[in-house]
């Protein structure tokens, strides 16, 4: 700088001073300094700022893709599909990376997606978002049309939509998945882990137009969900649903439920509720329809409980099937126990056949409350069946220490204790399985699970014989008989509890039975809720449905008739309605 300054002080023109060495050096060094500045800046960006810049870069290019696992198929015990995943596509957009969409393309997009143009524009408006769904679960064909519009930043994604071929028939057992593909109801929810499998992932670099450039990490492959084979037999399920619907409609009932169990394994062969819903189109779904009544609803089982105190008395050797009992009405404290068709005396078999409150309560009172509680507890009352079904009710069995004698008496004919239909059907396995209580299973079993012995096989056999009389002439459920087979069972009619009081005109009609009675294969429990078609007695409202379901199911399963000579049924119009207490 010395020379330019000295130069500046001179006023005289000096051509020789063009490009004074000092000025040249100054300009050259200045340029050098600027380049040095660039190098320092580059060094700063590539060392100090490197992490920050690379993270910013990754935030823009690096994407973790989910490789969706296929959800497992749900089938019935014979491999018939009950829930399958069909490929669909969802349209999404990345507003952040999108140039403005021309109005004509926007309109075409909205038309294809059947959405108002304004809605589509609103979804694309937030330029900070990098992912927004425009429409989910459309057909691959429609998605192809959308992609053909060629709008940059609009992409599709493969998804699966659950389809339920059996529709409303299986709705309550199978349940359904939500739009996110996760189980929301039924076994779809209960077995979520097994069905869902495990999604894989893939970490990739993407260019701005969404093409994958390279994988940044090893691809984690998805593990598909497993196939869930239910214990349900779809043929029996269809039959059960159809007959239940008929029964509910015929009796103008509010609702109804059916449980069909394999009497030797405890597998649920059918479980139906009515009303039901279509899981494939849930737009009109009301909570009322969604409830799996047979599993989650509790009711007082009424006379269908009577075989249990009777079996307890036989097991203890206190009575035999032909023991005569005094069945005149009697008083416990201020309350009178009476039958609707009083007879001064009945055999133990007749107590079952005619559904005598007096007889069954007298047998119950032969035991201490603790003994009776223990017996009921062993049958699984007051406990969940642990079928794994979501929302399963455990029922109510009060602790014996608070029992008064009248309560113990009413509990023998099914009041003061509440159960679910599946619990009730399951308890009947002690009769079909030679005294051993079976666990219920919604999945097909390779071999039966160990049963819990409750009765001696001989007691169970005696009970089967006694319960056969219910469907024979003079029994409460002649309508439940089945051509070619002996049928055993028990009717029940109970008043519904409403706000702690028994309603006068709201009943539940029940029939729980099994067949063939001599070598039981099936347990069928039918519950009709609030029948208002004239009669409300279990034998009348539930008996015919039981008969139809049992007859059809035995035929479907090819069970050998145990009463081939019994080829005539008592005509229904000649069957006197034998009422039982409600």
């Amino acid at each position: 700088m010395r020379q330019p300054q000295s130069f500046a002080r001179r006023n005289a023109p000096r051509p020789g001073l063009i490009m004074a060495p000092g000025r040249v050096r100054f300009v050259l060094w200045s340029l050098g300094a600027l380049f040095f500045l660039l190098i320092v800046r580059a060094l700063y960006l590539q060392t100090v700022q490197q992490d920050f810049l690379q993270n910013q870069g990754e935030a823009r290019f690096r994407r973790t893709l989910v490789l969706e696992a296929n959800r497992g198929v749900i089938t019935d015990r014979n491999g018939q599909p009950l829930a399958i995943s069909t490929p669909v596509q969802s349209i999404w957009a990345s507003p952040e990376d999108m140039p403005p969409v021309p109005p004509d393309k926007l309109a075409a997009l909205a038309r294809l997606l059947e959405m108002p143009v304004g809605d589509v524009a609103a979804k694309l408006a937030d330029k900070k978002r990098e992912f927004v769904f425009l429409k989910r679960q459309i057909s691959p064909e429609l998605a192809a049309e959308v992609m053909a519009l060629g709008i940059p930043g609009v992409a599709r994604q493969q998804e699966f939509r659950r389809y339920y071929p059996a529709g409303e028939v299986m709705a309550h057992v199978v349940g359904f998945t939500g739009v996110d593909g996760r189980g929301q109801e039924g076994l779809e929810l209960a077995r979520e882990k097994m069905l869902a499998g495990k999604n894989g992932s893939r970490v990739v670099l993407k260019d701005r137009r969404g093409h994958i450039i390279e994988d940044l990490a090893a691809i984690e492959r998805p593990r598909d969900g497993q196939t869930l084979t239910l214990s349900i037999d779809q043929r029996i399920q269809y039959l059960a649903f159809r007959e239940l619907r008929n029964a509910v409609e015929l009796n103008k009932a509010r609702a109804g439920g059916v449980v069909v169990l394999d009497g030797k394994t405890g597998e649920v062969l059918a479980l139906a509720n009515y009303p039901s819903y279509n899981p494939n189109n849930r737009s009109a779904l009301e909570p009322e329809m969604r409830r799996n009544r047979a599993v989650v609803d509790l009711f007082e089982p009424g006379s269908t409980m009577k075989p249990f105190p009777v079996s307890m008395a036989i097991e203890a050797g206190k009575v035999r099937p032909d023991t005569w009992m005094d069945t005149k009405p009697y008083m416990i404290g201020p309350a009178t126990v009476r039958d609707s068709h009083p007879k001064p005396a009945m055999t133990v078999t007749e107590v079952i056949q005619k559904s005598s409150n007096v007889g069954s309560s007298k047998m119950a009172l032969m035991f201490a409350p603790e003994q009776m509680w223990t017996f009921y507890d062993q049958l699984g009352f007051g406990r969940s069946t642990r079928s794994g079904f979501p929302g399963e009710a455990s029922g109510r069995l009060r602790n014996w220490q608070g029992w008064r004698p009248i309560e113990q008496a009413t509990m023998s004919f099914g009041y003061g204790v509440s159960v679910s239909l599946i619990q009730l059907a399951r308890a009947y396995t002690i009769f079909t399985n030679d005294g051993g209580l079976l666990p219920v299973s919604f999945t097909r079993l390779a071999s039966p699970l160990p049963a819990r012995p409750v009765l001696k096989p001989d007691t169970a056999r005696k009970m089967r014989e006694m319960m056969m009389s219910v469907t024979q002439e003079g029994g409460t459920a002649v309508r439940a008989q089945v051509l070619g087979y002996h049928v055993a069972g028990k009717t029940g009619t109970s008043r519904k509890l409403e706000g702690g009081r028994y309603a006068a005109n709201k009943h539940i009609g029940l029939f729980v039975g099994f067949a063939p009675a001599t070598a039981p294969r099936l347990i069928v429990a039918v519950m009709i809720d609030e029948p208002r078609g004239g009669s409300y007695y279990g034998g009348t409202v539930a008996g015919p449905a039981f008969s139809a379901i049992t007859a059809g199911s035995l035929r479907i399963l090819g069970v050998k008739p145990d009463a081939p000579s019994n080829n005539t049924l008592i005509p229904l119009d000649q069957i006197p309605e034998i009422r039982e207490d409600a």
């Binding site: 023109p13 380049f35 800046r41 823009r60 330029k127 260019d207 701005r208």
Partner: protein
């Protein structure tokens, strides 16, 4: 001591071979990097539709540029001095012409191109060259009056103001900055009175600030450059992606062809932001090599000027250094923009970026530089020029 370098480079050959090799290296890198940076755009854009679209054009421009440079090399420096005024006038006429709708073509809001059937020409690139030729001539002519405001300074000032006005009409702020740097640099080297120079520098700085503040377009660019991470999807989009590219390069880069930023993230990857792609693919080493080549060329230009001056060839001396200032300051501006040191200007990287007019005029300028050196060597050997 840089100036004393003249002693070390004794002319034994007809040409400055080191300069020519540096140039060849720079042009080779340019060829590869323009192709690398443009492949994705060229392939994906329906208008170009071939991955070679920009490469073939770049080759064509290089060819035209080299032919032009050959032709320019045949002109003695005295010829340029004789026609300096005329060239400057042609430059002005073209700058006016480009502003006339129908002749000038608007791209991205700027009217910078004159359409010539198949190719477009950018008069501002010619103006940079004309400024070197004219400012050197002016300085030599008026060397006796460099202390005078009215005779030495005002004529040049008015010429600069006219050019500035025309460039701002386009607008092309970047070209204006380069033209001003060249003119002021040559005046400074030519011995202009420091007080006058100081006054001019202050005025120029004030004018630049005023121009930035009064134009929302320029202000936006300046603000975007101050903190690109404040609005990385709007104002700071281009710069943030350029910085990411540089940060991804680390020491040795991700390798040729490995740039992710060039895959539609970084706009203008093969033109104004080619340095970002070079940084990403070749890292700090790549930056050092490219900057090193520019430093070498600038340094040679200044040495050639110093040698010419020793031979009392003042006009060629100023020409050579003028070319040095041009290439130096424009590459600094461009790389500075890429690295976020300077606001975005729309300037190419000389001898590197894709762009026909810029490449042609850069090569022509280098041809003049080589001619000055060639003449120096002839005279030193006792030949006539």
């Amino acid at each position: 001591m840089i100036v004393s370098g003249a002693r070390r480079f004794s002319p034994v050959t007809a040409f400055d071979e080191a300069l020519l090799w540096a140039l060849a290296l720079l042009l080779s890198i340019s060829l590869v990097m323009v192709y690398s940076a443009s492949i994705a755009y060229a392939e994906a854009d329906p208008a170009t539709n071939s991955r070679f679209f920009f490469l073939t054009r770049h080759l064509l421009f290089l060819g035209i540029g080299l032919v032009g440079a050959g032709a320019v090399f045949t002109r003695p420096t005295a010829w340029w001095q004789k026609h300096a005024g005329r060239l400057f006038l042609i430059g002005l006429v073209l700058l006016v012409a480009v502003l006339i709708p129908g002749i000038g073509k608007v791209v991205n809001g700027s009217r910078r191109w004159i359409s010539l059937v198949v190719l477009n020409f950018q008069p501002s690139e010619l103006m940079k060259f004309a400024t070197v030729i004219y400012a050197a001539d002016y300085t030599v002519r008026k060397s006796a009056k460099m202390h005078s405001v009215t005779e030495g300074f005002l004529p040049m000032l008015s010429a600069i103001v006219v050019v500035a006005f025309l460039l701002l009409m386009e607008p092309d702020f970047g070209a204006l900055m380069v033209v001003m740097a060249i003119a002021m640099g040559i005046l400074f080297l030519g011995g202009i009175n420091l007080r006058i120079f100081g006054g001019l520098a202050v005025m120029a700085a004030a004018a630049i600030v005023l121009l930035i503040v009064t134009s929302p377009y320029r202000l936006k660019r300046v603000l975007g450059f101050m903190d690109p991470w404040e609005d990385p999807y709007g104002k700071g989009y281009q710069l943030s992606h350029s910085l990411i590219a540089i940060g991804r390069g680390e020491w040795f880069g991700v390798g040729l062809g490995g740039s992710v930023e060039k895959l539609f993230y970084l706009p203008e990857a093969h033109t104004d932001f080619i340095m970002a792609v070079i940084s990403e693919e070749f890292g700090f080493v790549g930056i050092l090599v490219v900057i090193g080549l520019y430093v070498w060329i600038v340094r040679r230009a200044f040495h050639i000027g110093v040698e010419a001056k020793k031979l009392e060839r003042y006009y060629p001396a100023l020409l050579a250094q003028g070319v040095g200032i041009w290439l130096g300051i424009q590459s600094f501006f461009n790389i500075g923009v890429n690295m976020g040191l300077l606001p975005t200007k729309g300037l190419t990287l000389p001898l590197m970026s894709f762009g026909g007019s810029a490449m042609l005029m850069n090569l022509v300028a280098v041809a003049v530089l080589v001619r000055v050196d060639w003449e120096n060597r002839r005279i030193m050997r006792g030949y006539k020029v």
